[in-house]
Structure formats: structure tokens, C-alpha cells
């Protein structure tokens, strides 16, 4: 029926004066947009398949290509936007749930952009990070109530296991399966080089990557894929994934076509079978069950690894965090509603959960009021987009940040948000060998190192401007923030003053 025809969202604009018919675009496009028409003797495009990943644009040697959003529109309607109408058509046709990838792209407030950072003037000096030490090392884990010293004045207290990071940024959980082997390799190597950690996600750990264990957080999710004693012992810490910001309350589904030989071995499931992570952990229906899993994992690893509990930022997040802090977890990771995903139901991604800024402010304050903030470290993600987001997160009270989307952007992702198709032209969110090969792990490693190095420089510059020369003096230092354009209620939740106050 004609109503099912949706005009392509993007138009491929080809400058035929520049096109040399080298057919790079054709070879590079896994979506098969481009082809050569021998009768017309020129390149043609099937724009209905285009996802605007910019691969052809980037590789066209003569810059003959650009992708533009179409100006074909339905009659304008503020209530019934074009996308809304198209989604109705698609669902009327398929009867299915709409799927999307990466983080929530809708127009909700981004609180990072409504907070401003302080700097020193006159009454105290700013510090030049090029001339003075500017420290960004952080420790994640439970802090002792007090430190006991022996008679010689040496430390007697044995600390709970800690993660030591050279900078307050880690790579967040992205499973092998949802992203490619080369992407995982690059994350592991860059984390090792930079003195931080990456996270396996729920897909187990490829044998070749065990060598980076000291910089690996191994995840245990509801599907328990790839979980075995060696895996648990391999990492620096263990993360129990209770939820994900992009899809709170929802499990995961890695389709069988992405489960090739290596993914199958790593996940410990048959090749070609769907990998389904249930929505809840079926051994955790309440907080007391969580405690049992935390201590099972601690027992299994001889109390040598800190346990992280990762949750999505939802309405009651402060109370949940308090419960987690009392359940023996060493670290809580909170994932905001803008966090990325390899695939999520669109309605969930775009409508469930709350912004990480508000969740972080509420959790940090609640844990302090209950005097249990030292029992647990806080890591936030979803989404941290720049060094200034990191600075603001730490000033609100985070110990460290997780970055996922930013890390993928660093290695080539163009945020076309079609990960679920498995045809990532940049070799990241795909298992197709020809596509995976496109991602050179050496170059990707270097780019990730560059990103962290650059961000760390920027963090140091901002700290120096505030007259702070160690990141711990920034943690929870909310006087360093001011709100801009926020309501009294928002300021109350963030516990910051408005600019000018």
C-alpha cells in the first residue's frame, strides 16, 4: 500500500563533476546504498537504505558526496511530528516494537549545560598545571572508618580492595558481541596504557584480552554469559549489572546472527543462538538477594575484588543507592537516561529513567545524610560528553565517570544510531568480519589514549583555574558550581546556587 512508502530520510547528493566512479562508496556501504549503473554509466543511490553514517562521505577521495536530511515533509504539526506519524505507519505495518540504538536523542534538558564552573580571582591564586603538580588519581572502593597505626607509626589497617585510577574516567560496559573484537581490543589496550579500566559488558571476556585483566572490569549480568571462576578472577573488579540507563527495567537480546564462533565461545552459548538477558536477575527479586550475589562473588574471588553494582537512574534512585551501599557493594555505578545501547525499544529509551545529573546529586546527598558515603564510591555515566561534564560530575559528588558513546566516537562512530542492524560501517557495532577489519585496533587504541589525554589536560586546566591541585578536593565540592536558567526546585535537587548568588 502506498501509505507504507516512507520517503527516505536522507538524500545522497553526488557531485557528478567530482565523481570519478571509483566505486569506493559502493564497497564501503554495508547498507548497499550505492551501486554503479552500467547503462547510465554512473553511480546511483538507493537512499531508502541510507542511515547517514557518513562512511561514504568520509572515504570518497574527491569529496563528491554529501548526505543531507530530506526536506520532503508531511504537513507540519506540532503535536503529530513527522517521526511520530512515520512510527505509526511502521507499527501498523509490522505489528512490532520499535527498536533504536545509542542514547536518548530527544529534547530533554541537559543539566550539564546548565551548570557553570568557578575560577579563582584575587582572593586566592589559580594554579598553572604546566608548572605545578595537578593530581587526578582516584581510588574506588570502601573507605575504612579509621586508620590504625602500630607503635612505629606504620599502617595496621588493611584496606578493602580498591581500584586505583590515574584519571577519573573509565570506559563503560560494552559487550563483546554488541561491539567488535577490535573495538574491545582498543578499549582494553587504551585503558591499560592510561592507567584506567574498561568494562567487558555482559558478553564475557575473550581469552586474548585476559592479559589486560588489571585494567578490566568484568561484568555479571542477568544472562550470566561468559561467567566462570577464571573470568571473575581475571578482572580488577566485578560489576553486577542490574540496569542500564538506555533501557531501565529491560533485558537484552543479542540476535543469533551476531553470535559467531568467537562470540559463542566467549559467551559460552551455541553459535547462532539468540543471547537473551532477562529483565531482572532471576536470583535477585529484592535487595537482600542482591546482598547474596555480592557476597557469592566476593567468596568466589576470595574477597580480592571490589564489587560494583550498576543501576539505571530511575525515580527512586537515592533510596535504591542507599540500599546498595548497605548491601556490601564497594562501588555503585549509575547510568543516566541518555546512556547508550546497542539496541533498545525506542519507547523505553526515550521515556524511561531520569537525567544522571539529578540522580547523582540526589544519591550523593542521600548517602551523606545517612553517613554512608564513605562506604561506597560513586561512578556515573550516561552521558558524559566532555571534560567539563567530568568536572561537573565530580563537583556534584561522583568519584569517577564512565564514558561509552564518547569512546566509540573517538574510534569512528558517527552516531547514526543503527547499531541494532549489525551493519556498522565503521567496524564497531558489528560482527561481520569484513566490517570488523575496517577498525584498526592500533589506531583506535591511540585515538582513545589521545581522547583521555586531552580530557585529562582539560580537567587539570579547569582544576587549576579553581585553585584546586588534586581531584579529591573537587569531589562533592558543589560550591564550585552555579546553575544557569534553572528553577528553584532544580537548584534544590542539585544543591547548587544560581549564577550571581
Amino acid at each position: 500500500m502506498g501509505i507504507n512508502l516512507l520517503y527516505p530520510k536522507y538524500e545522497v547528493i553526488r557531485n557528478f563533476d567530482r565523481c570519478i566512479e571509483c566505486r569506493v562508496c559502493e564497497r564501503q556501504c554495508a547498507n548497499e546504498v550505492h551501486s554503479y549503473d552500467p547503462e547510465l554509466k554512473r553511480m546511483v543511490a538507493d537512499e531508502s537504505k541510507c542511515v547517514d553514517c557518513q562512511r561514504c562521505v568520509a572515504l570518497c577521495p574527491t569529496r563528491a558526496l554529501k548526505i543531507v536530511e530530506t526536506d520532503n515533509t508531511f504537513k507540519k504539526n506540532v503535536n503529530w511530528k513527522q517521526q511520530t506519524i512515520e512510527e505509526v505507519y511502521r507499527q501498523a505495518e509490522s505489528g512490532g516494537v520499535l527498536l533504536s540504538s545509542m542514547g536518548n536523542p530527544q529534547e530533554y534538558p541537559v543539566y550539564w549545560d546548565k551548570m557553570l564552573i568557578n575560577a579563582s580571582q584575587v582572593t586566592n591564586p589559580s594554579i598553572d598545571p604546566l608548572r605545578e603538580p595537578m593530581e587526578t588519581k582516584v581510588f574506588l572502593g570502601k573507605k575504612p572508618k579509621n586508620i590504625e597505626l602500630d607503635e612505629a607509626g606504620n599502617v595496621k589497617t588493611i584496606l578493602e580492595p580498591q581500584i586505583e585510577l590515574e584519571l577519573p574516567i573509565m570506559f563503560s560496559a560494552m559487550s563483546y558481541g554488541s561491539i567488535s573484537e577490535n573495538a574491545h581490543k582498543a578499549l582494553a589496550r587504551a585503558a591499560t596504557k592510561m592507567g584506567t579500566c574498561y568494562n567487558t559488558g555482559e558478553g564475557g571476556l575473550n581469552k586474548e584480552l585476559y592479559q589486560y585483566g588489571e585494567h578490566t572490569i568484568v561484568q555479571v549480568a542477568s544472562g550470566r554469559f561468559g561467567v566462570h571462576p577464571d573470568y571473575l578472577m581475571a578482572g580488577k573488579a566485578i560489576e553486577i549489572k542490574m540496569g542500564q540507563g538506555a533501557k531501565p527495567g529491560i533485558g537484552g537480546h543479542l540476535p543469533g546472527r551476531k553470535i559467531g564462533e568467537k562470540v559463542s565461545q566467549t559467551r559460552m552459548i551455541p553459535q547462532g543462538s539468540d543471547a537473551i538477558s532477562p529483565a531482572p536477575h532471576h536470583d535477585i527479586y529484592s535487595i537482600e538477594d542482591l546482598r547474596q550475589l555480592i557476597f557469592s562473588l566476593k567468596e568466589a574471588t576470595n574477597y580480592s575484588k571490589p564489587v560494583i553494582v550498576k543501576i539505571a537512574a530511575v525515580h527512586n534512585v537515592a533510596a535504591i543507592a542507599s540500599g546498595i551501599a548497605r548491601s556490601g557493594a564497594d562501588i555503585i555505578a549509575i547510568d543516566g537516561f541518555r546512556g547508550g545501547t546497542g539496541a533498545a525499544p525506542t519507547r523505553i529509551r526515550d521515556n524511561v529513567g531520569i537525567p544522571i545529573e539529578l540522580a547523582l546529586a540526589a544519591v550523593d546527598q542521600r548517602l551523606r545524610e545517612e553517613k554512608i558515603r564513605n562506604d561506597i564510591s560513586i561512578v556515573v555515566g550516561g552521558s558524559i560528553r566532555s571534560a567539563s561534564d567530568v568536572v561537573k560530575a565530580i563537583a556534584l559528588g561522583a568519584d569517577a565517570c564512565y564514558i561509552g558513546t564518547a569512546a566509540l566516537l573517538a574510534i569512528g562512530c558517527h552516531l547514526c544510531r543503527k547499531c541494532q542492524t549489525g551493519k556498522c560501517n565503521w567496524g564497531i557495532a558489528t560482527q561481520r568480519e569484513d566490517l570488523v577489519k575496517r577498525l584498526n585496533p592500533d589506531i583506535a587504541t591511540k585515538r582513545l589514549e589521545n581522547l583521555l589525554t586531552a580530557w585529562n589536560h582539560e580537567i587539570q586546566e579547569m582544576m587549576g583555574g579553581m585553585g584546586i591541585n588534586s581531584i579529591e578536593a573537587l569531589k562533592g565540592n558543589r560550591l564550585m558550581l552555579r546553575g544557569i536558567g534553572l528553577s528553584a526546585k532544580e537548584l534544590e535537587i542539585l544543591q547548587i546556587k544560581h549564577a550571581g548568588e
Binding site: 586566592n124 594554579i127 582516584v138
Partner: protein
């Protein structure tokens, strides 16, 4: 205009300290006044104060409460409270002298008291110790009795402070009538003023008194941490937060002043590589466990306590401070001139490095 505690006011300052290593009560209050007076330009007349140790030998075992009252009602309410929980052994007005530049004085009273622990409430079923009880009383009165403010509450020590230049404050309180073994002084240069006497320094808790020059950039990180341990930062000043940190680490955690300096002005990570492994491990443990007690930004502090004095700079030494000594008397000040003003022929004078604590303990022959 908002009063101190309702708004955070940055300020620069002058500090000075003098201590006799032998613990002899040989230092007249005039000496510290003469020292701080020379640094007149480091203050702007909006706050000055002193702390003296060993000044109340006749009541050495009693807590000396110095209290400002704004109204008679506040005085009555506060005295009712004190009568209920303390044995008031002696009390009276703190003698003052009329000084032209010191105006708008509140009522200033002094009480020598003994806590009646039998009447004290208990935390759970555990009876609380005397010092905790005194601290709780101070917090209670300062935050609940409007117009009453306890600004000194140690034993055999006292704080004297006002809005004015420090030398005028010294004259106002007639400090030449007191002798002690240790003194500290403070001249304040706030960027604005609420004109409130309680906002002047030193800040005291039990026998700890702090004078501080600087503006710490870690303030809110420090404050939000220390408030988890039942301290109430009502004044929003650096000095108040630093006092609580020292009380927390020294009295509650039993750490020495040497170790405290390694926490609040921690060595840089790069310095640990050249240290003895046991010491490096200790510092790493401290920096991990007490990370939120690291103080950054410029500061020089002199912390007085019954057994001595600690002077400390921030680890980058962003504020001036010098130390000198002559015949068992140690002098500390923001500027060398303040030491030379009271002692010309010093055995040595030097500027301690950033983060290097100067700790002087009195060696008493008898006690």
C-alpha cells in the same frame, strides 16, 4: 546584609604565634599584640582576635566558656541551659577597656564550668565522654539559642576576638593583664563584612584554636565530608572547617599532628617515589581513606592546643609564613617583621616548605 554563616566570605589575613617550649607562663599578652600590630596592613579592621594558653591557672581543670550575647533574653536562656547541665564554678563579665575603634560590643561573659555528666543525655545506651558532651553543648547553644554564641570552650585557654584591628582588639580585652605559655593572633581582611563578632578569628573547639590565612578551594568538599561526622559548619568559614577536621583527626581518630599534616597537606604522589616504602604506604592509605580531607588552595594556619602548636602551609606554599626561635621561645608569623618586632636577636629564622609542619610541643617538667 547577610550575616556570617548565611553567606561565604573570602578573606585574607595576618597570623602570628608565640610559644614557650618549656611551658612557662612567661609570655604576656602584650607581646602577641605587638607582634600582630606590625602587620596592620594585612588586616582591614573587620576582625581581629587572640588565643592564649595557660592563662587560667586558677581554673585549669574547668572548661572556660567565653560567650557573646546579643540580648538579655539570649543570656537568660543560655544560662538556664548551662545551669541545668553544668556546675558553674565561677563566672563574670570579661573585663574590657573602652577603645574608640571598637564599637557595637555584645555582652561578653565568661563561665568556668564542669559538665554534670549524670544529667547528660546518652547516645544509645553508651554514656558520652566529657569532651563530646561539651562539643554537643556548644553546637546546641550556637545553633539553637538565638543571640548566644560560645566562641571559646577549652580548658586553661581562652579566645578573645572582635570586629576591629587586632591591636585594638588586644587593647580592648586588656590582654596585657594575661600571662600564658602560648599565644596565637589573627588580623582579618574579609572581602566584605557582616560586622559580627562571632565571625572574627581564632575559631575554637575545646582546646583547639585555629588562626588561618587563606582561602581554601577545597572548602565544600571538606565541609560536606566533615558534616557526615556530626559537625555543623554554621559559619561557612575555612577556619571553622579546618578546626573540625583537626578535631576529627586528632581527638576522634587519635592521629598525631604529624600525621594530620600528611592528610590535610598531603605530599604529592610524585614525592612518594622517593620515600621510605612504609611511609609511602602510609601516605597512600591516608590519601585514599581521607581523600576528602585534603585541603587545597592557599593557607597558612597556626593551630594551638594544650600541649603545643602546629603551623602548616598548603603544599604549594601559596601563603607566606616564617618561623624563628630564641631561647626556647618559638615565633611564627605571616611576615618576618612580626617576629622581629618582638625578638630582634633570633637563633634562626626560616620559611618552612609547603606542607612541612612546624610542631612545637611544650616539655613540662611537672604536670
Amino acid at each position: 546584609m547577610l550575616r556570617e554563616g548565611e553567606i561565604r566570605i573570602p578573606s585574607g589575613c595576618a597570623i602570628s604565634g608565640i610559644i614557650d617550649r618549656k611551658g612557662r607562663r612567661c609570655l604576656n599578652g602584650q607581646k602577641i599584640v605587638d607582634s600582630i600590630a606590625i602587620m596592620h596592613d594585612r588586616s582591614n579592621g573587620l576582625g581581629g582576635g587572640f588565643a592564649g594558653y595557660g592563662i587560667y591557672p586558677e581554673f585549669a581543670d574547668l572548661y572556660a566558656f567565653h560567650i557573646f550575647y546579643d540580648t538579655m533574653e539570649a543570656k537568660e536562656a543560655c544560662e538556664r541551659y548551662l545551669d541545668r547541665y553544668f556546675e558553674v564554678v565561677s563566672y563574670g563579665i570579661i573585663p574590657t577597656k573602652s577603645v574608640e575603634s571598637i564599637q557595637d560590643s555584645p555582652m561578653i561573659m565568661r563561665y568556668f564550668v564542669n559538665p554534670l555528666l549524670t544529667k547528660a543525655k546518652t547516645i544509645g545506651k553508651v554514656p558520652i565522654d566529657e569532651e563530646t558532651f561539651v562539643v554537643e553543648t556548644v553546637f546546641y547553644i550556637n545553633s539553637n539559642i538565638d543571640g548566644a554564641y560560645i566562641f571559646s570552650n577549652g580548658k586553661n585557654m581562652g579566645i578573645f576576638k572582635a570586629v576591629g584591628f587586632p591591636e585594638d582588639v588586644g587593647e580592648f580585652y586588656r590582654l596585657n593583664e594575661y600571662d600564658g605559655y602560648s599565644w596565637t593572633a589573627h588580623g582579618r581582611y574579609p572581602t566584605n563584612t557582616p560586622g559580627w563578632w562571632g565571625g572574627a578569628h581564632p575559631f575554637g573547639l575545646l582546646d583547639y584554636s585555629i588562626v588561618h590565612n587563606g582561602e581554601i578551594s577545597s572548602y565544600d568538599a571538606n565541609r560536606r565530608y566533615i558534616e557526615m561526622f556530626d559537625y555543623k559548619c554554621t559559619l561557612l568559614t575555612d577556619t571553622e572547617a579546618i578546626t573540625y577536621i583537626i578535631d576529627f583527626l586528632n581527638r576522634k581518630n587519635g592521629l598525631s599532628f604529624e600525621d594530620i599534616s600528611k592528610i590535610i597537606a598531603a605530599p604529592f604522589w610524585s614525592e612518594l617515589e622517593h620515600m621510605d616504602p612504609a611511609e609511602a604506604k602510609k601516605i597512600k592509605t591516608f590519601r585514599n581513606a581521607f581523600s576528602s580531607l585534603l585541603i587545597t588552595g592557599p593557607f597558612s594556619i597556626i593551630c594551638g592546643f594544650t600541649d603545643g602548636i602546629m603551623a602548616l602551609n598548603d603544599r604549594l606554599k601559596l601563603r607566606s609564613m616564617v618561623v624563628g626561635e630564641k631561647d626556647d621561645i618559638v615565633y611564627l608569623a605571616s611576615e618576618e617583621a612580626a617576629i622581629r618586632a618582638v625578638c630582634q636577636d633570633l637563633d634562626y629564622i626560616r620559611a618552612p616548605k609547603g606542607g612541612e609542619p612546624i610542631i612545637v610541643r611544650v616539655e613540662r617538667e611537672e604536670k
